[in-house]
């Protein structure tokens, strides 16, 4: 099938190799370019990062570099995850714990993972000196305390800055429109929009679920040129959904804040949390997120 969303549903990525990224909640961060990062030293980075983690956990005591520790760190490259040849290959950081009981069987349990990536981010970093590696998007899954330790190490080692990447309601409505137009299996789940109503003492969320085919039918009437989306089209699409809701419930959703969008492609929360659901659209979603991360950096 032809790419349904302006060529952003790429298929040349091996679904097997990125399957572990799907159906997990990732917290989003933007990262400024890494100074003097090199793919040639990934193993060394693993070693030093694991020593750093041990040191942070046992603050105050010196830790020998390179001995076996109860947390193992693996830093590796994910060459599949990029949008163009100019993009740097994604970097995966994984923390495994070795429980003392299972030490002999060397059973390792993944306790935290995070990855840096850039999909079509090269346009934004033209003329960047060689010493800098641009991987503006960082996604983490696992306890925030580990994110803090790993993040601190990267900040100290490669002189970069991490910041949470929130997704504005405007960008969420773009995601809603873009993902509605994508082709998925028949058994696709409903599209769900969650709004929060401001100015109330008790928090009140409104969930608005739409059958994916209905949503697609609506979007098809709004979108003029396939493969191209304009702000105006997104506004019309959302306004149609709002007026439909108003007709039934007499509530104007346009006055509430869109906080979460879930579709069969992915789900995104305004706090900067994302879950990828379809491997063929992973690159496309990452491209959008890279764009958001870049705009936060520049």
């Amino acid at each position: 099938p032809e790419p349904a969303c302006g060529g952003w549903g790429q298929e040349n990525t091996d679904p097997q190799r990125i399957a572990f990224l799907l159906r997990k909640q990732w917290t989003l961060y933007s990262v400024t370019p890494l100074y003097r990062f090199s793919n040639a030293h990934l193993r060394n980075y693993s070693r030093l990062l694991s020593a750093f983690i041990a040191a942070e956990r046992q603050k105050g005591w010196a830790v020998e570099v390179g001995v076996e520790l109860d947390i193992k760190v693996a830093v590796s490259s994910l060459p599949d995850l990029k949008g163009s040849d100019q993009d740097h290959a994604a970097i995966l950081v994984e923390l495994f714990s070795r429980s003392p009981a299972s030490q002999k069987t060397s059973e390792e349990k993944l306790i935290w993972s995070g990855w840096f990536c850039s999909v079509c981010g090269d346009d934004f970093f033209e003329n960047m000196p060689e010493d800098f590696t641009c991987l503006p998007l960082f996604l983490t899954n696992g306890a925030e305390s580990y994110t803090a330790i790993v993040g601190s190490w990267f900040q100290k080692t490669f002189d970069c800055c991490f910041h949470r990447l929130a997704i504005s309601p405007l960008n969420l409505s773009w995601m809603a429109a873009m993902w509605t137009g994508c082709k998925v299996d028949k058994t696709a789940s409903a599209m769900e929009l969650i709004f929060s109503v401001p100015g109330l003492l008790q928090p009140l969320d409104i969930s608005y679920a739409i059958h994916p085919e209905d949503a697609k039918a609506l979007w098809d009437t709004v979108q003029k040129t396939p493969g191209e989306i304009t702000q105006e089209e997104v506004d019309i699409f959302m306004d149609c959904l709002y007026s439909h809701f108003h007709r039934h419930f007499k509530i104007r959703l346009s006055a509430a804040k869109l906080v979460k969008v879930s579709t069969a492609i992915a789900s995104a929360h305004c706090d900067g949390i994302i879950k990828f659901l379809q491997s063929r659209y992973l690159i496309g979603v990452l491209k959008l997120l890279t764009e958001l991360a870049v705009s936060q950096i520049q």
Binding site: T32, H41, R47, E64, L69, A148, I149, D159, F162, H163
Partner: protein, 737 residues
Amino acid sequence: MQRRQSSKTPKQPLQGHHKNQTDLSAWRKGGRIDPEKSIQNHQTPDRQKNDRQQDSLEQALCYFEKVQERVSLKKNSVLQKHLATVESVALQRGLPPEGFEVLLNVALSGKFGDTVNTCLLKSLVPASVIPESSIISSVSWLCVGKCSGNIQLLFLKWLITVFDFIDHKEQIHALYGFFFSFLQDEKMCPYVCHLLYLLTRKENGESGMQSHLQALLSLYKLFCPELVTITLPGKMKTYFKNSEGPWKAAISAIRRRSQGNSPLSQPLFLGTAQPQSRKRKWNTQLFIPASSANRNNLEQDRGKKHVDLYGTNKSFPVEQLQTFPQLLENIHRLELPSQMGSVLTNPLLLHYMNCIKDESVYLRLNYWMGQTLQEECTWCVADNQYEDEFKDFLETVYKTECFLQEGFSSCEEFLYKSLPLWDGFCCRSQILRLVSWIPLGSFSEMKSHLYDPLAQLFFTSSLYFKCSVLESLKELLQNWLNWHVIHLDSASDPQVCSLNTTLSGLVNVVAELIQFVGWISTVALRLENNPTFLLYFILDFYETVCDMYLRYSLPLLIMPPAGVFYPALLSMDSVSLNQLCYIMYRYRTNLVAAKENEQSKKKILQFKFSSQTYQEYNQYIIAMVGCLWTSTAFQKDIHPQGLHMDEELLKKTAMQEFKTSFNIVYHPAMMGYAVLFLQQAWPDDTTFNFSLIKGKKWNWYLEYLYAQGLKGLKLFIESSINRVSQASCSKAENTQA
């Protein structure tokens, strides 16, 4: 009524910023002196209490230094008092470096019983550093063995806890062997191991398995694998029991207290262990201590021996950089810090930055600064209440810009993003000072990003805010002009020329800034009803504008708008009038110089002042001379917004002598002088007959005015009024336009 100094002696470019360059001698790490902060300290109410404490501590130290024979605590109230003093000062503020030697000598010499010794040792909480010499003498007491085993143990625990506070460690390293010999004592062994663990360096590699010995051995093995043949278990565990004792909490409490409000004033030598004054998010740190990048460690191969970890490194680590001479000696092999943000609090590194032309240095700094400003901005980020910290940060950024004499692009972008959201109140002086370092940009950018949001705030804010904005725009103009002068000097260097600012571009951007200030000044004078205070800041701005051609070699002169000129001319205050006279005199000097240059060079100059500038100048000078000198302002003023008035209309006002009402005798700003002059010249006359001031008396009156400090008026009259035919006192000599 004196003019400001600056108008008499022309300002040199750059001069204005010297005040922000810190005194070199104060740049030893740990010796940073902030004059403002120390003044504040003087004013605190606790000050007197501190002084009293200081006195009694000195008395106590004196006592312990001189005490000869063994005294019992119970019977001796003097000892009790001094002991209590030491204890309370130590816990509140920490002890000064010079106290350690005295107290350690007493505690380890066995002059007192263990109760006193324990109490003394527990009180050894450092306020800043502990001198190495006091440790050396303590070790020698330890070797003599005059004190009990418990005290020895306590001393070792103390030493381990405060290890990082010792100012130097070279001589302590020399005592390595002595510590090693203490290993034989069973009780002391774990602590000695811990101490050796801290002390051991590569060159020290030479010793059932106890965990403290293991730790030491593992360190030996790391440095010199060939010397340790036994296999050590790989599993990480806590080798040393907590020996922090009673000191750790006291030390951190004192540190918290002494840092209190200002993260900047904390001594830098504790850099690696800087505690945070509050719990921060892991990803934001406003003040970063400098630490070296350890590239070797990062990029070494696993198979290689760990030979380069200590000592033999060729580069000079930033942690060791403490003095300016050190910087000069090691500048060729200085390693940049791992995080560029640390240069902000490290003046020596700023010097270094000033010398090196490395794009990546600025790029790293700008990325960090941009993100930090964005994340910490108190009015852009909803739940951020740490205004004081942010203020300090902005202040530091500003000082860095002053030092480097250039603005940061990240800071410029931050201002563009945050000004539209700014309330004009939060961190006001910091933000306005940062505005003055915005680099030259294109007009469209400046208008929408800077001028528009600034104008909105300007018109709706207080008089004080308006004056602050004008002040910072004057600084901005001066910084641009200085930049231009510097680049003019290095114009022969083709590399510098490639900067994408052409002269015409520069002229346009500067002209637009001046026009913007002219516009807001006109409106502000009307809104605020011409206060002298505001007029002063406006005229101050024009003092720079009127001299751009001669002082900054910029082919541009712009006259103030009528909305500024006439309020100044008709001001009730002699300061404004005098300032205006000085400005008009400088305009004249600049215009005459430009005209002469044009005529003498013959060749076609790229830039010529438009005839409109000369015309405007002439209109103003006619009005001024008409007002102050020839009493013809109402007839001769030809400016469309000027003073010209119909004779018939003037008669209807029923004013007698309306013609002379703005000359130097009757002008509301001058009449006070005229009265005083009359009183001196005719002490008996009480009728205040101003018409007596004419002819010879007129000249005396002028001399009197000059003597009163109206230097601007003097320069103006001497340059712009033709006094050859003094008797007629009439014609203004206009520049030949």
